[in-house]
Structure formats: structure tokens, C-alpha cells
Amino acid sequence: MDELLKMLQANALESTADIARMLGVTENDVKARIEGYEKAGVIRGYQAILNEEQVDPGKVTAVIEVKVTPQREGGFDTIANRISRFPEVRSAYLMSGGYDLLLFVEGRSLREVAAFVSEKLSSLEGVISTSTHFMLKTYKRFGVLMHQEPSDERLSVSP
């Protein structure tokens, strides 16, 4: 992977001036490359990684396994795209194994998620069955530990 992308993935707020210095290139070069990645759709967006248990303790996330019937032209993509468009669906993946799609669905309450599954998802044409699991606690998201603060036990000066 391009080192620039690696750096942005670690910290999207890194300034272009500092990135340029660290990579040994000009700032304009960095800006142009980022713009290029954005235009090409390689960079799809920038988000903060939140500890959501602190922000919104009532929020519910469900992981839903979905079996679907692939469609004649378009295979899994048509149905997967249709499902992905619901704003409640935060992530959607096509999987190998015992089911076809894996969804991460968020709602303000258990009732809200249940309503989404029963009224919107299950009733879609092509959805054969769903199996819903509720998430109890998040330990790590996007490579970041949620509950452990980094500790530095090193001596302040050493040889």
C-alpha cells in the first residue's frame, strides 16, 4: 500500500505539511495525491473512531446473518446493494460459508432494530432468512482498543 494511504489510515488529521516532511516530498505533491485518491474513490471518506459506549450508551448494534437468493442478472450485487442503502445498515459484506450477507445494523433501541429486521429486511424479495445477534460490548474497533489507555513504562532517559 502507498505509504501516504497508510499514514492517513492511521491518522486522517495529519497535516499535509507534516506528511510531506515525513515522506520527503513537497506539500503540493501530497495534496495532489490525496485529491487523486479521493477522485478515484480510493479514499471514500474520513471518520472519527468513537468509543460509542461513552457517547450513546443506549445504542444497539446487531450483527445479522442473511441468506438470500442470488438474482438472475447481477447475482448477489443487486440484493446486497438494495439492503446496503438502508441507513440503519452500517456495514454489509458478502460472505463465504453458511450464509450470504453479514450486516452490521444500528438502532436507538432493541425495538427499533427488531422492527427493521422484521418489517424491512425480512420482507425484501430475495431474502430467505435472517439470524440476528446483538452486540454486548466493544473491545476493539478499526484497530483501536476501546478501554485500554496506552501506557509508557519506559524510563524517561536511557542509554
Binding site: 497508510k6 516532511r21 515525513m22 515522506l23 520527503g24 524517561s156 532517559v157 536511557s158 542509554p159
Partner: protein, 393 residues
């Protein structure tokens, strides 16, 4: 109080006369202060890779809590032999040519004690790691420093060595990539040194603890130069590339006769290196090294940043090609390195290590370790810029 005076008189005179490390003194001052950003830390800020830590816990559960062979677990020695052959192009026999030690520090001590008779001279280059001179003295050798300079990228040349060699010279010590300067030696540089060692019939001790951390050119070991293997003790360990400083695990590779002599001292003094650390090291060596590659990339970016920042400040800083230290010159501010460092600590709460801790020719320089996160480096550079413009103004 009179009791302590009489005890001092009973101390071994070599030990008594060696000063404490300049780093130690500085550490004592820094620990009394709060909110200091330290560029004084000579160890990685990365955590030991999790797979290494996890496998250490597993080894503890499995009961790897006993003495090991004096040389160390054969499994580890085999892994090291494979690693050295692959990455340094030198082959060692795991049964007789590799000794596992408590860090490179112990390996260095063993090598010098195994080789030196009282009065034998050891050539070593300065600025250098704080313990070289003391370790030579403890082994009753005579340290002969060879001064390197920023103009030359802190590299060592044959002419510099010739100027300091005598018929009593027995050992040549090398450390590239270098702590504190970040200097490296290319193959051609080393061939010159190798010819000198051959002609003078010297034993070479090469401390290559930073060899994985090079940023612009691949590392070359002097042990890989033709014929040099037979007169070289190659020292390496796990502290830097795997961020395992607290595990205290190093090793020496060399001709069987030398390793056997070192093993005798090790056997009677240390017995063996920690069994758990050895298990951790096996894991570190036998798993893919994506962790190391990631670290190198991050250090390179920080190196680029810090060198650029010094340039902006109008401070001369030779470009470090390895290790994780920048060694800028602060001579133009007219303060001795130690005063510069103390004043910087007082005024801006940034800790750097005065170059004099690494030898007299380190005067006029400070060591800034970039083994700390970018946030700290950025803030430290902002403070340094403010501090130096005040000094200059």
C-alpha cells in the same frame, strides 16, 4: 560517616575510578520534573509485538521456567543461525558458534573478558554507546578511542584507525548503525576496515543491535566480508528491532574457540539467559516480520521529520541513516552540550542527552531519540525552535 570512607578505600580501584554514566546523572534530574517531553529514551516506543508477548505467557504456562543449556535453547540457536544466514549472509554452527546472553551488554563483556590480558589495547570509535569504555576497563583492557566527526557522517576510516593503533592493539570494536549518531558503514567503508583488521591481526567485535533499523541503504555486516568471519565476534539481540529491551536477550556468534571461551565465563557467572526470554525470542524469529517492517517505516518518517525540523531551525544535523537517533550540533549557541541540555530541560521541559555522555568528542552535540510518537516529536521540535531562537536572539 567514617565507615563509608573506609569502604570506598576498599573498592576495586578500576571500579572506583570509573564515573557513573552521564545518562544516569541526567536521568536523575529528569525524573524530578513533571510533564517533560523526552527525546532521551534509548529504546523503542513500540510495544513488544503482541504475538511475542502472548507466546511468552504460553511458555510460562507450559513450564519453561528452568535452567536452559549454558549456550541457550538449541531451538533458538538454530533459529538465529537461520536468521543470520538469511539476513547477513554469514553462516554459524548452532551447536558451537552461537551463545545466548543477557542482552548484547553481557555478550560484549564476555567477549572482552575472554580476549583481553591486562594492558591489551582496544580500539573503539566515539561518540559511542555509553558502556564501551567502562566495559573495556572492567576487563582490564586499555580503551583507545578513535574520534569520528559529523563532517564525515561519523563514519570510521582506515586512516583514523592507523593513527591510533599500536603493537598492543588487540581488539577493534564497531557499532554501526551507531548509537548516538545514527551513522552506518557501507560495504566499501567496511572493506577498508576489514583490511586493517586483517593486516594487524585484530579480533573484531561488532555490535549490530540496530542492524534492522536502516532507512536508505540495506545493512552490511563486517562479518560478511571475506575472511573476516574467522576473526569477528558478531553481537546482536532483540531489544531494538523487536522492542524487547526488558527481556534482556542478546547473542554472540563467532568462531567456536572464542564462543567456547565466552561460554566459560557465562557458565560461571550467569549460567544461562532467562528461559522465558529465550522462548519469546524463538517466537520473534520464527514468525513473519511485518512488525519490524512497520516499525522501520514509522522511524523513517520520523527521521525525515526531525531532520527537516532542525534544518528549519538553522541547526546542522547530519542525516542519520540508521538506529533512531539524531545527533545535531548545538555548537553555534556557544554553550557546552550539558549546559544546553540542562537549560533546554529547565526552560522548555524537553529532555535530550548531551553528546558528552557518549565520549569527549560528543561535545557540541546532543542526542535526540525519535523513538517516541509523532505528537511528542512535533511538540518537542516546536519547543526546541522557540528555545534556540531565544538563544540565538
Amino acid at each position: 560517616m567514617s565507615a563509608s570512607v573506609s569502604l570506598r578505600n576498599r573498592l576495586n580501584t578500576v571500579v572506583r575510578d570509573i564515573p557513573r554514566s552521564g545518562i544516569r546523572d541526567f536521568f536523575d534530574i529528569v525524573t524530578t520534573m513533571k510533564d517533560v517531553i523526552s527525546l532521551g529514551i534509548g529504546e523503542p516506543d513500540f510495544d513488544t509485538p503482541w504475538h511475542v508477548r502472548e507466546s511468552t505467557v504460553f511458555a510460562l504456562e507450559r513450564g519453561a521456567t528452568h535452567y536452559t543449556s549454558n549456550l541457550g535453547y538449541i531451538e533458538l540457536r538454530r533459529a538465529i543461525a537461520g536468521y543470520i544466514a538469511k539476513n547477513f549472509g554469514v553462516t554459524y554452527n548452532a551447536d558451537s558458534e552461537i551463545l545466548i546472553t543477557v542482552g548484547v551488554s553481557e555478550a560484549l563483556d564476555l567477549a572482552l573478558r575472554a580476549l583481553l590480558n591486562p594492558g591489551d589495547e582496544v580500539l573503539y570509535h566515539e561518540p559511542c554507546y555509553v558502556s564501551y569504555r567502562a566495559t573495556i576497563l572492567f576487563a582490564h583492557g586499555r580503551p583507545v578511542e578513535v574520534e569520528t566527526s559529523a563532517e564525515n557522517g561519523f563514519r570510521l576510516t582506515r586512516a583514523m584507525l592507523e593513527a591510533r593503533a599500536t603493537p598492543k592493539t588487540k581488539v577493534l570494536m564497531l557499532n554501526f548503525p551507531n548509537n548516538p549518531t545514527g551513522a552506518v558503514m557501507g560495504r566499501e567503508d567496511l572493506e577498508e576496515i576489514a583490511a586493517f583488521a586483517r593486516e594487524r591481526d585484530l579480533v573484531v567485535i561488532t555490535d549490530e543491535i540496530y542492524s534492522e533499523l536502516t532507512y536508505d541503504t540495506p545493512h552490511t555486516s563486517i562479518a560478511g566480508i571475506p575472511d573476516l568471519r574467522e576473526r569477528t565476534i558478531f553481537l546482536h539481540g532483540f531489544s531494538k528491532a523487536w522492542a524487547m529491551t526488558g527481556f534482556r536477550l542478546g547473542y554472540a556468534c563467532g568462531p567456536a574457540e572464542l564462543i567456547e571461551a565466552m561460554m566459560k565465563i557465562h557458565q560461571y557467572t550467569m549460567l544461562c539467559a532467562s528461559s522465558l526470554s529465550q522462548k519469546a525470542a524463538i517466537e520473534a524469529l520464527t514468525r513473519p516480520q511485518t512488525d519490524v517492517a512497520e516499525m522501520v517505516g514509522e522511524y523513517r518518517r520520523r527521521r525525515n521529520y526531525i531532520v527537516g525540523a532542525f534544518k528549519d531551525m538553522g541547526i546542522e544535523c547530519h542525516r542519520p541513516l540508521g538506529a533512531f537517533y539524531a545527533f545535531p550540533s548545538v555548537r553555534k549557541f556557544g554553550l557546552p552540550a550539558k549546559e544546553f541540555a540542562l537549560k533546554l530541560l529547565n526552560d522548555e521541559k524537553v529532555a535530550v542527552v548531551p553528546g558528552t555522555a557518549f565520549g569527549a568528542c560528543g561535545e557540541g552535540f546532543v542526542r535526540c531519540a525519535y523513538a517516541t510518537n509523532m505528537e511528542n516529536i512535533r511538540e518537542a521540535m516546536t519547543r526546541l525552535a522557540r528555545f534556540t531562537s531565544k538563544l540565538a536572539g
